[in-house]
């Protein structure tokens, strides 16, 4: 244990006196994630094709005696063969299910038709407007705007058809010199008749569309979470690779010779080297996540715990992420024959994990993302940031990475040092 602590302390001391390394560990991920989330925001994460935007539709409209606009809206959106809108809508039963899909990033937006949509559209204007709600993700700003435009267009079309009806009834009533109610002559048109008393009432007085994002309360969704988490893990992989490579540097420089000749077992020495990498990565992630919380709070103008309130679960994800990244670095160093080779292989693997895990703004939906520690870690942090608790699959996956890669690296290193 003494040797373990000494070597860990020695590695940390050397790393924290290396300015270049500190910039790579802390300043770079902070700056990149903040700039991306501020500058590009929702643009960067748009991975869905814009001609088939996935949308969830909640149709709560109960209709009115003369029309069921909700049903019409649903038919148009859900059956693209009817009218091509560019949206790929899924009709879901309730708002909770729809928001769940949005949270899981399975749809780009949710459209919620209120239960009084048809009544408000066909009734007198003084009843007040119907409120059609559009809920989007902050990281899918463009998708949200597209859905908003299409939904508004549909509502305009409804309004247009309503106005056409109004005009026809008015025309007939004028030609025959009778009141419009007589032309309609049926009770079912009473409401429409009432609305015709005020033909100048515009649609925007009868239906409004309000747009909101997923964010709600303290455990809200924040682009800084998405970009912060992926960038932090991306750079943690670099740190892990660099620190694990120091095993090979110590072999090259001869300090490993001294350590191996000391009265410490080889497994202790190697465990200490990997342990110091783990401590370093954990320290880096903790500091970065605190810093992102600070930046998020500054942008909000108040203290916001952007990673959620579940400190215990956050700790679990941090530990699992650190363990996974450490052993990935360890494995690379164990396979490589020289520090230079380890640097090259490590960079390739880190870039692969970053690309498949979403560090560069786009997120793959393919199963290949499951091979990325960045994906598992970032997904868990996003879940916690949304106030969710379902992180154990991610923790388990990263622990699996750590166990398998850690065991392989130790075996390879021990074999190398036992010649």
């Amino acid at each position: 244990m003494r040797a373990f602590l000494l070597i860990t302390w020695n590695d940390l001391r050397q790393s924290f006196t290396d300015r270049t390394l500190l910039i790579l560990m802390f300043a770079a991920p902070l700056a990149i994630a903040t700039i991306i989330s501020l500058t590009f925001g929702g643009l960067a994460n748009e991975s869905n094709p814009i001609d088939h935007l996935p949308v969830a539709l909640v149709n709560a409209d109960r209709g009115s005696p003369i029309a069921d606009f909700g049903e019409a809206f649903e038919a148009i959106l859900a059956e693209p063969a009817m009218i091509f809108t560019g949206l790929d809508a899924r009709v879901v039963a309730d708002e909770e299910t729809a928001l769940g899909l949005l949270t899981d990033d399975e749809v780009a937006a949710v459209v919620i038709l209120p239960q009084d949509l048809s009544r408000r559209l066909t009734g007198p204007a003084d009843r007040g407007p119907a409120n059609v709600r559009l809920v989007t993700r902050p990281d899918r700003e463009v998708s949200g705007q597209i859905v908003s435009t299409i939904a508004s267009g549909l509502l305009d079309a409804f309004s247009g058809s309503l106005a056409l009806s109004q005009a026809a009834v008015f025309g007939a009533a004028t030609a025959e010199g009778v009141p419009p109610a007589e032309i309609l002559g049926r009770d079912a048109f009473t409401q429409l008749t009432e609305s015709l008393q005020d033909p100048s009432s515009a649609l925007d007085q009868r239906v409004i569309m309000t747009q909101s994002s997923l964010r709600s309360g303290g455990a809200g969704f924040n682009p800084l979470v998405v970009f912060g988490a992926t960038q932090a893990i991306f750079f943690a992989l670099f740190t892990a690779n660099g620190n694990a490579t120091s095993i090979l540097e110590e072999v090259r420089d001869g300090t490993m010779t001294r350590l191996l000749a000391s009265p410490s077992s080889r497994s202790t020495l190697l465990a200490a080297k990997l342990g110091s990498t783990f401590v370093m990565v954990l320290f880096q992630l903790v500091l970065l996540f605190i810093a992102f919380t600070g930046i998020g709070s500054l942008l909000e103008g108040r203290l916001v715990f952007i990673w959620g309130q579940s400190i215990g679960r956050i700790a679990w994800v941090l530990l699992a992420t650190s363990a996974a990244t450490t052993t990935i670095g360890g494995l690379v160093a164990a396979i490589a024959k020289s520090p230079e080779q380890s640097g090259v292989i490590g960079t390739v693997i880190t870039m692969y994990m970053a690309v498949t895990g979403g560090s560069f703004g786009f997120r793959l939906q393919s199963p290949i993302r499951l091979t990325s520690a960045v994906h598992w870690g970032a997904e868990a942090f996003e879940e916690l940031a949304r106030g969710g608790t379902d992180i154990w699959t991610n923790v388990l996956a990263m622990s699996g990475f750590a166990l398998v890669f850690g065991a392989i690296s130790l075996v390879l290193f021990l074999r190398r040092f036992s010649t």
């Binding site: 003494r2 006196t17 420089d253 001869g254 001294r258 000749a261 009265p263 410490s264 010649t419």
Partner: protein
Amino acid sequence: MSTAVEVSGLGKTYASRSGKSVRAVDGIDFRVDEGELFSLLGPNGAGKTTTISMISGLVTPSQGSISILGIDLAAHPVAARAQIGIVPQEIALYPRLTARQNLEFFGRIYGMRGDSLRSRIDELLDFVELRDRASDRVETFSGGMKRRVNIAAGLIHSPRILYMDEPTVGVDPQSRRRILDLISHLKEEQGIAIIYTTHLMEEAEELSDRVGIIDHGKLIAVGSLDSLVAMVNEDDRVEIELAIGGDRDSFLRGLRTMNGVSAAELESVGDPESGACRVEVLASGGRMLLPQIVEAAGAEGVPVTSVRLEEPNLESVFLSLTGRALRE
């Protein structure tokens, strides 16, 4: 004097990439006593570093046994390694740490702490004459200074046995002199058993109590410098340059009759008109004959312009044993 290191039948075979086995060290036997400096002398690739690596516990031998102060290295590696200090060929130090921090770290690895560690560090920094640079990062040191800290790091836990693997490689003559003086001091005043590998004959001759000559993984000769030289049975060579004058033939006849002289030949050198010539004498104990030779020249009126003595050395021993020069 008790035995510090005893090596018996030591061998190491590596598997090459082509699948063939390469025998780096082949059945070596030797013993080093406490307070003795034993040099392993051989050309690059002879098996010196592999041998040192095995007796340091860094490389597992394919065959043979190693005893460190009576402790079997294979059976009790941790206890045996605690008695050993090593000075690797590389500068085995952390460049971003200061000299003191390096020594502190390696001392702690060996279980040292507190005042005893601090005083040992001060003592070693004084010993290697770097006390005034103790708080400077090693990366700012010259090559010679790094080498001295490298030696101090090997001594931090006061080992009774020290392995030094070519500790003067790549240093300037002045620094080399300083390092050799430090090693002499370690041997003579601290009684540490030192196993020293080098390919530099002069270092081995200057420092060693005994020398083992290693070539192609085999220890081909072991003994003191004198016994090794005696083993090859070569005469000393005395070269005397003469100016014109005196009775050269009589001088030559006199030389040939001197006790210990096996041959004496005259040959002209330089411009024939100058009349300068050289006499080459092969003799045992040439150093003892020098006054006699000069006296004989004076008696015959032959002016001597220079005298040069070449005694058999490790180079000639190596040449004699292997048929090639040490530096080839």
